[in-house]
Subunit: 334 residues, 2 copies
């Protein structure tokens, strides 16, 4: 009942890639060994009214993160704009782009230039009238490794996402990268243990949650602390239940959904920052402020992950013979 080895500091680690010779079916192939340790960077940023400025800022921050030793970088949800879902306006579908497209090419180029794996949240135009909230994963050579389309779509006052985003149809995903298997989920997914489980079972060492969550100014005094705490708690629990690292990347700042001078009415949303990185036992190793732009860097250590799971062997005892009813809406016989 004990993880016997403690986590070291989240300091910088030089990545060493040993080139191995593999013999498969008699043919010699060269394979790149995956790192046992690597650094991830969480870009907590604010988003202004000009999409091009936000993209340029993100590109700068990716370079900053690489200079700080990051091998994997994650940006917040829909970082190219203020959070436009504060109003329902069909004109705003113009913000979406196909993938590949101009933004994805710029981001891929930033990944290549800085030699980082990059997870970037994009408003994807898939077909006329068909849009997704999508996390794109870029390899460190600039290639697009794949897409995850947000599976759980919220709809709450000022978070009118069901208007914009068709629920994902690619399922839950972990991607093979030069940093090993990385899991991608997006914001509202963070409230669903099923999403974390199905991503972790694919072998992800870490789950990334690009996020846009904040307080309604009128409610913050009464409910703000409990809301933030519930959000932090449930995501730490995904780390614990699955024995994986978790990286949550939120935006900061008060926004009214201002896109080139056109805002939603009302008091807006105060995005609460608080991006964090926790280990496979839910220990928070790095955590951002509520109100400042920051780059958090943390270390993923596969030896620590292995050690945690050996001492708390939750995956060993899952009752997979009994979980099938989880595909029910309610178990009420109706």
């Amino acid at each position: 009942m004990q993880p016997r080895r403690n986590i070291g500091g989240a300091g910088l680690t030089l990545l060493s890639y040993a080139v191995e010779v593999c013999v498969e079916n008699g043919a010699k192939t060269m394979a790149l060994a995956l790192p046992e340790k690597f650094n991830v960077a969480l870009i907590q940023m604010s988003c202004g009214s000009e999409p091009a400025d936000n993209l340029a800022k993100a590109i700068d921050r990716i370079a900053d993160a690489a200079r700080q030793g990051a091998h994997v970088v994650c940006l917040p949800e829909l970082f190219q704009t203020q959070y436009f879902c504060q109003r329902e306006d069909a004109v705003l579908f113009d913000l979406a782009e196909p993938i590949p497209g101009e933004a994805s090419r710029t981001l891929g180029e930033a990944a290549r230039k800085n030699k980082v794996v990059l997870i970037a949240s994009l408003f994807e135009k898939r077909a006329p009238g068909l849009y997704h909230n999508t996390a794109a994963v870029f390899e460190s050579d600039g290639s697009l490794r794949g897409l995850y389309r947000k599976m759980h779509i919220p709809d709450d006052p000022l978070y009118y996402e069901k208007f914009y985003f068709t629920p994902g149809d690619l399922g839950f995903r972990a991607f093979d990268t030069s940093a090993g298997k990385l899991g991608t989920l997006v914001c509202w997914d963070q409230w669903y243990p099923e999403g974390a489980r199905l991503t972790a079972l694919q072998g992800a060492s870490i789950l990334f949650y690009p996020t846009a969550i904040g307080w309604h100014p009128d409610e913050k005094a009464e409910f703000g602390a409990a809301q933030h705490d519930a959000w932090r708690t449930i995501q730490r629990a995904h780390a614990i239940a699955n024995g994986v690292y978790v990286a949550v990347v939120n935006r900061v700042g008060l926004e009214t959904g201002n896109i080139r001078g056109n805002s939603a009415p009302g008091k807006g949303l105060e995005f609460w920052g608080g991006s964090f990185f926790c280990d496979p036992f839910g220990r928070v190793l790095a955590e951002g402020s509520y109100d400042k732009e920051e780059i958090l860097v943390g270390e993923v250590d596969l030896k620590h992950l292995e050690d945690t799971r050996r001492n708390w062997p939750f995956l060993r005892d899952r009752r997979i013979d009994s979980y099938a009813p989880i595909t029910s809406r309610m178990l009420d016989g109706k």
Copy 2:
């Protein structure tokens, strides 16, 4: 994104049962309306070497809880003995009893006498060589409402449960009682989001976790805080994910598994208490100490549960079309 109504204090509430006349298929029947609010009591207790003494103590505490206004009472896991799973010894199967049996009759009588619904964890002898770790639910008239047999069975140093307990074959369960639907799970189940989900989906307003968890004395200084925090965090997360109350009932005290003078060698386990009761947004409303016997009383308020779920509508957006692979051991194609 906001539970707009705050929880009141966990004060005592008089239960009022209105007798309603229901007309069903033309026949008039009398039905007891379920309470909108009720109090639950969590009995945090230490367990000595004499089983009869532990049972007598539990019976006293049930009466105490009833005097404090409890309508539902939950005892810790296997409260009749010290935690015997610290050693593997076939003689200890003698501690098990059939249900119904002597202990269950005594407990049912205590439920009736104190007019409480009672959740009691028992070492169940089902057949020669077939034993379970079972939560028995007694109605306030003393009748046995049903059994939940612990589904996830641990096996770790000093927690040799796989030797004693056959994994449950009744699935996850919520029971109809005079306090409405109550969910029962046991200890190691607390690390599995699937168990919480499958119990909550049956309509439980509250999940009970009778528990026996503690520190290895040699590890407490280095890992104790993280272990306790992970345990508390994941169970709060079950409340949040499912919009249900959660009641965790642990034992306290250092034990060597002493049963009538026969102990396991070694330093034993320090059971960490810390029983707690939290609301459907994971807010801890009552919490026990690490080292003292206590009775915690908290209020379940169905209006608050409804309100929490309306404002954080997680159940609305579950992607039940995509969860089927959760019945896999790993999603590794092997």
